[in-house]
């Protein structure tokens, strides 16, 4: 599991790679939360292009970060999910609260 956060003009992109399950969601969560709270980006995109596996732990991770971003006055979006990961996101109806690009 790898996370690389880049920031440009108030917008940030967190590029994730590897697998998202309950075991490693915890680490991702604390790293993303630390960034959101300290950098306070207006927009944060989570790039799932490099994610090879995701179960419902990823849904909890995205929903939780979306909530935190809103509380900090920002907005979260999700980018580049592979077709299989899109199915998991769709099942949760996550597109109703987070923009998926």
């Amino acid at each position: 599991m790898k996370i690389d956060i880049k920031s440009e003009n108030g917008a940030a992109v967190a590029v994730l790679s590897g697998e998202i399950d309950h075991h490693n969601a915890k680490e991702l969560r604390s790293e993303l939360d630390r960034y959101i709270v300290t950098a306070q980006p207006r927009e944060l995109a989570i790039d799932l292009g490099g994610i090879t596996f995701m179960d419902s732990s990823g849904i909890g991770l995205i929903m939780g970060r979306s909530k935190l971003m809103r509380e900090c006055g920002g907005r979260l979006e999700v980018r580049n999910p592979q077709p299989y990961i899109k199915r998991v996101l769709k099942l949760a109806g996550i597109e109703r609260i987070v923009k998926i690009l």
């Binding site: 309950h22 596996f53 179960d55 419902s56 299989y84 099942l91």
Partner: protein, 145 residues
């Protein structure tokens, strides 16, 4: 029903074993030549079932999780995930989408919905203090034949 092949293994309820279970299932399924989508579906369902045992079944005390994977005739894959943890008092309620007893862990409450959607059949047998057994089946397409 005739069992063409079977693997059974036991692992302690450590969260790191969620990926161990996925890897074992993937290796076993190679012989059945599933499509990428079928393999993803089964791996995801197994991940959810094992996570349930780790997060809910063995929430208060650690224990063992038993995973059984069978290849049955007609390209049917049978999966059983069994724990001897705290069990579920109300299985029907637990299977409702978005129901979770672990919101502090950011569990989305979608584990059973994922298993139901990605597999053909799902059965949950549980009793408080006795444990939970999740049984799932999926029939693979004929593409590999």
């Amino acid at each position: 029903m005739e069992i063409l092949n079977e693997i059974k293994f036991t692992m302690p309820s450590l969260s790191v074993n969620e990926s161990t279970a996925r890897a074992v299932v993937s290796s076993f399924l190679v012989q059945a030549d599933p499509t990428v989508e079928e393999l993803s579906d089964i791996r995801t369902a197994v991940s959810e079932a094992v996570t349930n045992a780790v997060v809910h079944g063995y929430r208060h005390k650690k224990g063992n999780i038993e995973l059984t994977v069978r290849l049955l005739p007609d390209r049917i894959i049978y999966i059983r995930v069994k724990d001897k943890g705290c069990g579920i008092a109300d299985v029907e309620q637990a299977m409702e989408p978005l129901f979770t007893t672990a919101p502090e862990e950011e569990r989305s409450g979608l584990g059973f919905s994922v298993m139901q959607t990605f597999m053909d059949k799902l059965k949950v047998k549980s009793a408080p203090d006795k444990g939970t057994t999740i049984t799932m089946r999926k029939r693979l397409s004929e593409h590999g034949d």
